[in-house]
């Protein structure tokens, strides 16, 4: 069975080569992992702030929330726009387009390979966190862990599709990375990376819930931290965003590739 050029053998080879490729840049990936420390900085400000009591999150719950937010972020980082822009600019895209495999799969494999490389560094940072804050230690139940894993994976899927949509705009304009920057700002503030969504005034929270951002960090992080969440609503929203973005991405890519070949001809 082939889905857009993919079968089991190709999956194995793609993942294997991309993982090997990522292992070459371990130092760089360790630094990337470290550059995700923002949730910890925010945690230290939040724990000293009196406003925390308004959140209904006691100290330990706050610790767990921000550690979960850090972990979710580590495994849902997406950089398709930058990789695609470079490939298009250097002309590497043309041979990819000739292959009977959708070029996006290559980027998916690269991201999965990077996540695997990142795993030990993220684990070390989490371990250091628990050494400093031993009272915050917790192990999610197996079921809870599976749900959190699924939610994080869906968050990655939404982020990936969203950025692929922007990347596809590269076929028309060279401003795609500027667009990516513009969407990154609401992401930072509305995703729950800097403050749990429960801290927001109700009106802002209501608006945020209609954007994809809270489902990228806040929802999976709260599942991982073991807080009480409306699972059906969260997963429903995540699936709805995937269902909305996937056909858009495929259509825009097809139109873009047609335009791209027209440019070369």
């Amino acid at each position: 069975m082939r889905i857009l050029g993919l079968n089991r053998r190709i999956i194995r080879v793609l993942l294997g080569t991309q993982y090997a490729h990522m292992l070459e840049y371990r130092a760089e990936i360790a630094l990337w992992a470290l550059s995700g420390v923002l949730p910890f900085i925010m945690l230290s400000v939040w724990s000293g702030s009196e406003a925390r009591t308004g959140l209904g999150l006691d100290g330990v719950a706050l610790d767990r929330y921000f550690l979960s937010a850090f972990l979710v972020r580590q495994f849902s980082v997406v950089w398709v726009v930058y990789a695609f822009e470079e490939d298009a600019l250097l002309g590497r895209l043309s041979p990819y387009l000739l292959q009977p495999l959708h070029p996006l799969w290559r980027y998916v494999a690269a991201h999965l390979g990077e996540q695997l490389t990142r795993l030990p560094f993220a684990a070390v940072i989490a371990a250091v966190f628990f050494v400093i804050q031993p009272q915050a230690f917790w192990l999610p139940s197996f079921g809870g862990f599976l749900l959190a894993w699924l939610a994080t994976w869906l968050a990655f899927a939404i982020a990936f599709l969203f950025q692929s949509l922007i990347a596809a705009l590269c076929f028309w304009s060279e401003k795609a990375s500027a667009l990516e920057r513009l969407q990154f700002i609401p992401f930072v503030f509305l995703s729950g990376l800097l403050a749990p969504l429960t801290a927001f005034p109700p009106a802002v929270r209501a608006v945020a819930q209609w954007t994809p951002f809270p489902y990228l960090i806040d929802f999976p992080a709260r599942v991982l931290a073991g807080q009480s969440v409306d699972l059906a609503a969260g997963f429903g929203a995540q699936l709805a965003w995937v269902a909305l973005l996937l056909p858009l991405v495929l259509l825009l890519w097809r139109a873009g590739v047609r335009r791209y070949s027209a440019m070369g001809a």
Binding site: E28, S35, V37, L38, S44, E50, G54, A178, L182, F189
Partner: protein, 262 residues
Amino acid sequence: MERYGRTLRRFWSTAVAVQLEYQANVLIELLAVAMSLSGSLFLLSLFYGPDQTLGGWSWAQALMVQGLYTVFDGMASTWLRPNLGAIVTHVREGTLDFVLLKPIDSQFWLSLRTLSPAGLPEIGLGLGLLAWGCHQAGVVLSLSGLFTVLVMLLAGGLILYSLWFLIAATSIWFVKTWNATEVLRALLASGRYPLSAYPPALRLLFTVVLPVAFLTTVPAQVLLGEAAAPMLLAGLVLAVLFFAAARAFWLFALRFYTSASS
């Protein structure tokens, strides 16, 4: 000296001319700055719950810190990112050879070659926010106070530059240090909030190891008339030390630089 001044004028006028070709970029940049600043203010407002204080700082006082942070962030996008970000590319593509062959100091060339005017509105907005915060906090500006703040801003800029340049210079060995500057940026984001909002261990880290405190909190304290002379002096001494370290490190790193052919 005069040659350097003349060169600088040429560098910057061409950089501005080039940027003016891309007017859409300026618009995008303006939008990004406006969005980012409103997001920061929204986030800050979350900390001001019922008791209206963050680490003992009132809302207006915290606005001054945010304003100073915005100024430095604008400084980074106007000056540091376009210049020091290019060092990595020079090393990777081998064009550093050309820089070293020029009859001008290489650190000067690498640090001041270009300017991205798109970051200037952010500096302006930051200064505006600082002024508004001062006004709200009831700061009475004296001429000497203004002068000390100016000196503190210069010292902060020098510290930021030196840290950034130190990291960029390690690309002579590691080739790709793009991510190291990302780590630096993530840590510098801690300067958005007054130092006293952090637990003691982090306060020490942000004062001594990574002197973020001298960028935003200390200048704000100077304006509020809370910082004593020793703190000011410490900021200045630190700036000079960091700059000397960056300079020495660059000369040291160059001894290890071998272009691809040698």
